[in-house]
């Protein structure tokens, strides 16, 4: 009597094994165990080809040779022809090992990505650089204003400026002399508005910005600083 239980168990075991065997031969639903890494090869190679050299030469102020040099560097980092935000942040962070440059890189990315499609192609890249490096001082000031104006509504509010300032201070990292305090960006923003906001309405418009910058010799001089970068 007390063997019946075990007999039943034994018979059940044999039956289960038999079922498993039949399963292996596809008579039941084939149980596939190797499904784990059947990855779909994402056709992530969305290849973007830039316009021809001639058109780029017309659209920007770079010479042919400069465009070639720029393109080679660009393609080296981004063989697919476009940069997305992650890549951009990664590339930019290589230059600032001590701090966290990701926020500022995001702002830069948005400034370069003029059509707001989430990726910067070579044309966008070169168009931005053309303004920064070969444009007139007014063009450059315009570009800087566009960078600061996060929501692109034509005026810089204190909050936008504070975000930008914080991101710049973030790039310094922790080990600075003198030590960074919490209020440092805010105070810097206050100074900025003190200087730029003529009519004291709490926002800086493009005219105020350009006017104030043109009055400051330091700023005007520093705008020319990076002309020989390429």
């Amino acid at each position: 009597m007390n063997l019946e239980g075990l007999e039943m168990v034994a018979v059940l075991v044999v039956l289960a094994l038999f079922v498993k065997v039949l399963e292996q031969f596809g008579l039941f639903e084939p149980v596939s165990l190797e499904d784990s890494v059947e990855d779909e090869f994402e056709l992530s190679t969305v290849c973007h080809r830039p316009e021809g050299l001639e058109q780029l030469q017309e659209q920007t102020k770079f010479t042919r040779k400069e465009l070639q040099v720029l393109y080679r560097g660009f393609k080296n980092e981004c063989p697919s022809g476009i940069v997305n935000e992650e890549n951009f942040k990664q590339i930019y962070s290589q230059f600032f090992p001590q701090g966290d440059s990701s926020t500022y890189a995001t702002f830069l990315f948005n400034a370069f990505d003029t059509n707001h499609d989430g990726s910067v192609s070579f044309e966008d890249f070169v168009a931005g650089l053309s303004v920064i490096l070969r444009g007139t001082v007014d063009d450059r000031l315009n570009w800087a204003f566009n960078l600061y104006d996060l929501n692109k509504d034509g005026c810089i509010t204190k909050e936008e400026m504070l975000d930008i300032m914080k991101s710049i201070y973030d790039m310094m990292g922790k080990y600075t002399y003198p030590a960074l305090r919490e209020e440092a960006p805010r105070e810097h923003v206050e100074n900025f508005f003190q200087k730029m906001d003529r009519n004291k309405d709490g926002v800086v418009t493009i005219e105020e910005f350009i006017e104030s910058c043109q009055k400051d010799e330091n700023i005007m001089r520093s705008m020319q600083l990076f002309d020989n970068v390429i």
């Binding site: 007390n2 080809r49 800087a144 600075t176 002399y177 206050e190 900025f192 700023i219």
Partner: protein, 636 residues
């Protein structure tokens, strides 16, 4: 249309002359070849190795780099060739693709290097020819698995800042090395599993005789003790199971997992036994249930990685095992039938039925040969020997497959462990490289300052310039310098930062100092923000006070600024609190700013980027004006 065939298009068009006589309607005009230029040879210089091909060959695939105008970006005017700074070996395969239309994957090439090259030339890897596609896919999958392994182990070892209590518990269960509590728990459960298994075993050992009755097993002699032990173990296992159930991120998936089923099966017999104690009818089933207590030994698989590998191997060799089982079953049935009919004639034969012969067949095929059932007829003996020979073959065939699977998985595990150990060293090296680059900047700053200091004091010592920095390095340093100027803070390295913090936290009572700075050689700094909990603010953030140091570093003395209408409140509080390590400047509005980079003080260099001279006599003597409200604005 395949690429190579394009060359035959002129022939196909010429052969269309055969249709002309029978056509009814007039033919369309032929497209004019606008730029009828001779096909020219293009020279492709890939890292020095020159490849030459026809232009039309490259133009067969216009959506790749070589086939489109994109290659003009790489045209070198001087040598009239296209220069690519890439790997010439892989370029061979790429160019062959244009020539033959088939892309091959060389076996010796690293898979990610190959992928990078294909991405550069704008070729999709999916067009790899059938001959090489399998290899490519296999290598790619291996690589992906390895990366996934790395990512998984990375995620496991990352210390995530904020985990809920439940998540910490789950992590503690899965990786006992994360905290001491988890380790303790791990060992305790292991101990109790061992105790439980040993109890089950010893329970059945005959324990000596009670006088007047037969030999009793220990379980019945000391039944109370064994019952207590069993209860304790089951308590622990129940608590463990419930805790795991609570902590699991997905309870449904946890309940379905193998380990949880083993846990349940291990503790259920006890509870069922409690419920149906003295019912004679089901005591048979009760005995059966006790068998399931042996499953507690499987709980050890959480504690042993080898067991887990074995289990995973068996799972992955399921098809081989299934084949083994199937072929064995077939053979058993065949041979059992044959033996039964062969031995049917002999008297007193043990082969009473075909199922009874199964036992003989199994024992013979696995070469056990107990000898409790032996054939007596000649036919039986002949078929018996065939049975044992075939048994050896059938069992030996699938076993190497299982063994090789186990070996592969085991080595993979070894590699993963080795990689994890090396990863720490690798990360440390990367960190060193990173700090090295920032240290390079600080080092070059000091060198540069030292140089200028030496020049200005007029001592014509030899230049400690050290190694001349490359152009890229100096440009990078210029960039970092611009950032420093923008934020008016300097980069320093970690030790000095700690030093500063400690020193400034020890400074106090600066109220005895006068606000004039020329006599000061050691001014306090504002302490690290995290230490100074007191809320006095210096009005201008971009004009902090610094300390004069030795000649090694230049100091910039910025004096607290002038009227800032929006911030007067904080200044008054600054005046009151004198015992918190901050300089009590700005008591009056007489102090002016002396930002070095502004050209108004004539003794200072007006260049934006060059560092100011050592400041001890300098800016202090040039503070004539009052309340010059100059504020430095950060340019881009």
């Amino acid at each position: 249309m395949a690429a190579g065939v394009a060359a035959w298009l002129p022939f196909a068009r010429a052969a269309a002359i055969g249709w002309m006589p029978v056509a009814n309607c007039p033919m369309p005009l032929a497209p004019a070849d606008k730029n009828k230029r001779q096909d020219e040879l293009i020279v492709l210089n890939v890292s020095g190795r020159r490849f030459q091909t026809w232009r039309t060959t490259l133009e067969r695939y216009p959506d790749t780099l070589l086939g489109s105008t994109e290659k003009e970006f790489f045209f070198n005017e001087d040598t009239k060739e296209y220069f690519f700074d890439r790997d010439p070996e892989v370029f061979r395969c790429v160019l062959n693709f244009y020539r033959t239309g088939k892309l091959h994957y060389p076996r010796y090439e690293c898979i990610s290097a190959y992928d990078d090259e294909l991405a550069f030339y704008g070729i999709l890897p999916e067009i790899i020819g059938d001959c090489c596609y399998e290899e490519y896919k296999d290598r790619k999958r291996e690589n992906a698995e390895r990366l996934m392994d790395d990512n998984d182990s990375e995620n496991n070892q990352e210390s995530m800042p904020s985990l809920s209590f439940r998540q910490t518990m789950w992590r503690a269960f899965e990786n006992p090395h994360t905290s001491t509590l988890a380790l303790v728990f791990y060992y305790v459960t292991g101990f109790f599993i061992a105790v439980s298994v040993i109890t089950n075993v010893v329970e059945t050992v005959p324990c000596g005789t009670v006088p007047g009755s037969k030999e009793l097993p220990c379980g019945e002699r000391y039944s109370v003790a064994f019952f207590c032990l069993d209860t304790a173990c089951v308590m622990i296992f129940t608590v463990e199971y419930l805790l795991r159930l609570f902590a699991a991120p997905s309870r449904y998936r946890f309940i379905r997992s193998v380990m949880s089923i083993i846990d349940v099966v291990a503790i259920m017999p006890y509870y069922i036994g409690l419920v149906m104690t003295n019912n004679e009818d089901v005591s048979g089933a009760f005995v059966t249930l006790r068998v399931f207590r042996v499953f507690r030994i499987f709980k050890f698989s959480r504690h042993s990685q080898g067991l887990r590998i074995l289990g995973y191997t068996l799972k992955s060799c399921a098809s081989e095992l299934g084949f083994l089982l199937f072929s064995l079953t077939m053979a058993i049935i065949i041979f059992a039938t044959v033996m039964f009919y062969a031995e049917k004639g002999s008297s007193a034969s043990k082969f009473t039925s075909i199922p009874a012969s199964f036992w003989y067949t199994i024992v013979t095929m696995t070469t056990l040969g107990y000898g409790d059932m032996v054939p007596k007829t000649i036919a039986g003996k002949i078929f018996g020997s065939i049975c044992s020979l075939s048994g050896v073959l059938v069992i030996a065939l699938p076993v190497p497959v299982i063994v090789s699977n186990f070996s592969r998985i085991y080595h993979q595990n070894q590699r993963a462990d080795k990689r994890r150990a090396q990863k720490k060293a690798r990360l440390a090296r990367i960190r060193v490289a990173k700090t090295g680059s920032s240290n390079a900047y600080l080092h070059s700053k000091r060198n540069g300052l030292l140089n200028e200091a030496l020049e200005l004091t007029g001592t014509p010592e030899e230049e400690h310039m050290g190694k001349t920095t490359s152009l890229i390095e100096s440009q990078h340093h210029h960039l970092l310098h611009c950032l420093e100027k923008t934020t008016n803070h300097e980069f320093i390295d970690e030790q000095m930062f700690e030093q500063n913090c400690m020193e400034s936290s020890m400074q106090n009572y600066p109220s005895t100092r006068s606000p004039s700075l020329s006599s000061h050689t050691g001014l306090t700094t504002t302490c690290c923000s995290r230490r100074s909990k007191k809320t006095t603010h210096l009005p201008n953030s971009n004009l902090p006070a610094t300390r004069l140091r030795s000649m090694q570093e230049l100091s910039t003395i910025h004096i607290q600024g002038s009227e800032q209408p929006s911030l007067t409140t904080s200044r008054s509080s600054l005046n009151l609190k004198a015992d918190d390590g901050l300089r009590p400047n700005c008591k009056t509005s007489q102090i002016t700013t002396a930002i070095i980079s502004i050209p108004t003080p004539p003794a200072l260099t007006p260049e934006g980027e060059s560092r100011p001279p050592p400041a001890s006599p300098g800016p202090n003597t040039n503070i004539p004006s009052i309340a010059s409200n100059v504020v430095k604005v950060s340019a881009l």
